[in-house]
């Protein structure tokens, strides 16, 4: 049989949702044994296209061909059976079961006679061991998944895909939660798979990685395919200009903020949990952006959660404007002028079934109270909607359910929510994760603006250019300890990495 030039062809795919044309006549052709990057702003249609491939959505028009033959995929099961696997951006393993059970879920090896079958744990163990050896993954098949880092969970997902003998593996933002060491490991696995003839569709915003690992790049914008190019012909600037349709001279806005006096002082913050943060002390000045860098597991999120009253402290003091404060709940934190944008907006940020407007208003209701428990609906509507618009949130109306918005726009609504509380201190945890280039720039501009107004901002970021490009000072944490605070010329990628890997 003649081998088709393309392992996978998605031809003329169209998909509409109420009010939104997510995909408009998009065609994607992927060669066997290649890494094909799929890029585009959030809302460009990348995830939607892949969900059509994987049977999660059914396209309104268009066809899918595998190895030259028409494929009919109406469920994830069909996709898996046809040799297509997807490693989602948000992973959902079964936390209370072991690694090997997660991999073989639904296909447990059994032994027995006739209809009486028992699960063959021994075989499952050795099968898993072999799988891991093959892919050079260092993991015990019996470990409980709930205790593993995101990177390890991802490795499990890849092993699972390989165990299905998948020939097309889609990876959606695979490195968003990985350290650079883990990224290298991932790339090793990808190159290995590629040499075996597997096609990998790699969705990511990270230009440097895309240029490092892909063979071809397809760029989408507003539901349409702009084009496909060999990676060798592309540069970061070229990609950006094609993605946003305009020249972007700089990734980060110019900043005019001048850090002033110390606004908040934190001393000896220690978590009651043994393996969490210990003895963290730093100062936060007015009008500054203090970045926090570190590897996954450095406990940065845990520290700012403690500052915001979401986590208990064993010891340590927090003082604002020279006075000691006790913060036992987010309500207290708000009273002291703090705001928190959490790391995972879907889990702890948005109210999916509520409208954009209500999502924006929720933290600020006390400002709209009239006597007798009533809310001043008019004032609320005007102020909240104005802020949402000010941040250039793309939404059909503010009555739209927030779950229908793209990640970047959801993040903007959350920012609006907190800006309405008129905070003095903003705690931002990975504020631009999973957000397209255009929206990222807008969020950077907002941050720069806030700093110029004299607000104090703490920003956790795992994206080195972002960390170095946006911070006035960079604080680095490693395994729960503060390993250093870098300023000015000292703040280089190498220095940050060195401090981040110290423990």
């Amino acid at each position: 049989m003649e081998k088709a030039e393309f392992l996978l062809e998605m031809n003329n795919i169209t998909k509409e949702f109420p009010g939104v044309k997510a995909l408009d006549d998009v065609s994607l052709k992927v060669r066997p044994g290649s890494v094909h990057a799929l890029m585009g702003e959030n809302g460009a249609g990348k995830s939607t296209l892949m969900k059509c491939l994987f049977g999660i959505y059914s396209p309104d028009a268009g066809e899918i061909f595998l190895d030259g033959e028409k494929a009919s995929i109406s469920s994830s099961n069909d996709a898996l059976k046809s040799g297509i696997s997807m490693i989602h951006q948000e992973l959902h393993p079964v936390p209370f079961r072991s690694v090997m059970e997660n991999i073989w879920l639904g296909r447990f090896p059994t032994k027995g006679i006739g209809p009486i079958q028992f699960i063959d744990h021994k075989k499952m163990f050795t099968d898993t061991e072999n799988l891991f050896k093959d892919l050079d993954i260092d993991l015990n098949p019996e470990t409980l998944v709930g205790k593993l880092s995101v990177s390890k969970i991802q490795s499990i997902e890849i092993a699972k895909a390989v165990s299905f003998h998948s020939r097309v593996i889609v990876m959606d933002e695979p490195t968003s939660s990985l350290t650079s060491v883990e990224v290298e490991h991932l790339f090793r696995i990808i190159r290995d798979l590629r040499s075996r003839g597997v096609a990998i569709i790699y969705i990511s915003h990270k230009m440097e990685e895309i240029l490092a690992i892909s063979d071809e790049v397809t760029i989408m914008r507003d539901g349409k395919k702009i084009g496909t190019w060999p990676a060798a012909e592309l540069t970061t600037d070229l990609i950006i200009s094609k993605m946003v349709g305009r020249e972007l001279t700089s990734r980060f806005p110019e900043r005019f903020n001048v850090p002033g006096e110390v606004y908040m002082k934190v001393e000896g913050l220690t978590s009651p949990e043994e393996r969490s943060f210990k003895d963290v002390s730093f100062e936060l000045r007015r009008g500054e952006v203090l970045g926090i860098g570190g590897l996954v597991g450095a406990q940065r999120t845990e520290v700012i959660e403690a500052l915001f009253g979401l986590r208990a402290l064993k010891s340590g003091t927090i003082s604002i404007k020279g006075k000691d404060v006790t913060i036992n709940s987010p309500k207290d934190a708000k009273k002291h002028g703090m705001a928190l944008l959490t790391e995972e907006r879907r889990v702890t940020g948005i109210f999916p079934v509520l409208s954009v407007h209500e999502n924006g208003a929720i933290a600020n209701l006390h400002r709209y109270q009239k006597p007798y428990f009533l809310l001043n609906s008019k004032k609320k509507k005007v102020e909240v909607d104005k802020m949402i618009e000010k941040l250039r949130t793309k939404t059909p109306t503010t009555k739209t359910l927030i779950m229908n918005l793209s990640g970047g726009n959801q993040q903007k609504v959350l920012l609006a929510r907190w800006l309405l509380t008129e905070p003095e201190i903003l705690l931002l945890d990975e504020p631009t994760r999973g957000i397209d280039v255009g929206a990222k720039f807008e969020i950077y501009s907002i941050i720069a603006d806030l700093a110029q107004q004299g607000k104090s901002i703490i920003m956790i970021s795992s994206e080195m250019p972002e960390l170095l490009g946006m911070s006035d000072r960079v604080m680095v944490m490693s395994e729960g300890r503060l390993t250093g605070i870098l300023e000015g010329e000292q703040a280089t990628e190498t220095e940050v990495m060195r401090l981040a890997a110290q423990h």
Binding site: F17, I56, Y57, S58, F308, L310, S329, P330, K331, A333, K334, L340, T342, V347, T348, G349, I350, F351, P352, V353, L354, E358, A361, I362, A363, L365, H366, Q369, F373, L374, L375, S377, R417
Partner: protein
């Protein structure tokens, strides 16, 4: 395009379509069903159920559930009735109780309901017991307390009767006259619905309620005191059940400890039919009203055309399952 739109309309509103068809079927079977008297009877029967359903709606919207509603209704019916009997009734609950202002036993009963709700709220939010289990427990406890009270000397579990006319008037009186008279009880239900609507839509508590049900974690991060709000919500629901119990005693002219048995199931079913999502964050007062009326219409209509109550149970069960099945389709994976 139009086929798709029609399909989507049917899925979104499937349950209403089925129920409308059912009602039309009843009318075709016996056209006498369509009359002002029927409407009035249905509204009267709906009234206390509306109040209970609104209480349950508060809790469903927070992604909780309240299995104790019915027993609280029974409890407060008994409490209010036990203190509002005419002086020369032969089997008085409290033989030496003086005649007090009608409002006093009513207030006591409603406060008893509120306390039951308060306990539910504290158990759920401070002890972190899942609402299903918490209210399962209070359901049994309240029934036990009610039965003990009901069994006290000298009553010894006799049905409480001989209620004062100034009390029963609330349940059976009406304004206007003749065919178009409007029962007090219907007006009370409408007033409660209006107030609950204001709470849901125009107060901080209402917004907090939707937020807690929509994403409890995000609500915490936004600065909402989830515990405090849940306690208020369960307490308010308890007060509503209390009011419903009082009205049931007034309407029927009596009370036993078995009043309210399984009322919460009807209330939850009516809420779900009316668009309140069991997964939280979604629900409206008009929806609950429609749900209750449809349910009562069907109850009433099936009895009207002579269908055995046992068939009615089966039909009710099917409606409940269908309502939630369609509800799940609406908000789960969109294809």
């Amino acid at each position: 395009m139009n086929v798709k739109k029609a399909q989507s309309f049917v899925t979104q509103n499937a349950i209403y379509i089925v129920l409308v068809l059912l009602i039309m079927g009843i009318i075709i079977y016996d056209p006498n069903f369509m009359s002002i008297n029927t409407l009035r009877d249905v509204l009267i029967q709906s009234s206390t159920r509306v109040i209970i359903a609104l209480g349950v709606a508060f809790i469903l919207i927070t992604a909780g559930t309240d299995l104790s509603a019915g027993r609280v209704v029974g409890f407060t019916a008994v409490i209010s009735a036990s203190m509002l009997q005419i002086p020369d009734y032969s089997r008085r609950f409290f033989p030496d109780l003086p005649q007090v202002e009608v409002i006093l036993p009513i207030a006591i009963a409603i406060i008893a309901g509120l306390l039951c709700g308060l306990i539910n709220g504290i158990v759920v939010s401070k002890l972190h017991v899942p609402p299903f289990i918490a209210t399962l427990g209070t359901m049994l406890i309240v029934y036990g307390l009610n039965s003990l009270y009901f069994d006290m000397d000298p009553n010894q579990s006799q049905p409480i009767g001989g209620l004062r006319p100034d009390f029963t008037k609330i349940g059976s009186g009406f304004i206007g006259s003749g065919q178009y008279s409007i029962p007090y009880i219907v007006l009370i239900a409408l007033a409660v619905a209006a107030i609950v609507w204001v709470v849901f839509n125009k107060t901080k508590l209402g917004k907090n309620m939707y937020a807690i049900g929509g994403n409890m974690q995000a609500a915490k991060v936004s600065g909402i005191d989830v515990s405090k709000n849940l306690i208020y919500i369960y307490a308010i629901a308890g007060a509503l059940y209390g009011l419903a119990g009082v009205l049931e005693a007034a309407r029927t002219g009596g009370a036993t400890n078995n009043y309210g048995n399984m009322y919460e199931l009807d209330a939850i079913a009516a809420c779900v039919v009316g668009g309140v999502s069991t997964t939280g964050g979604i629900g409206t007062v008009p929806g609950v009203l429609v749900g209750v009326i449809i349910f009562t219409l069907i109850n009433y209509g099936l009895t009207f055309i002579g269908i055995s109550p046992y068939y009615q149970l089966i039909i009710k069960g099917l409606i409940i399952i269908a309502a939630v099945a369609f509800d799940m389709r609406k908000y789960s994976s969109k294809k």
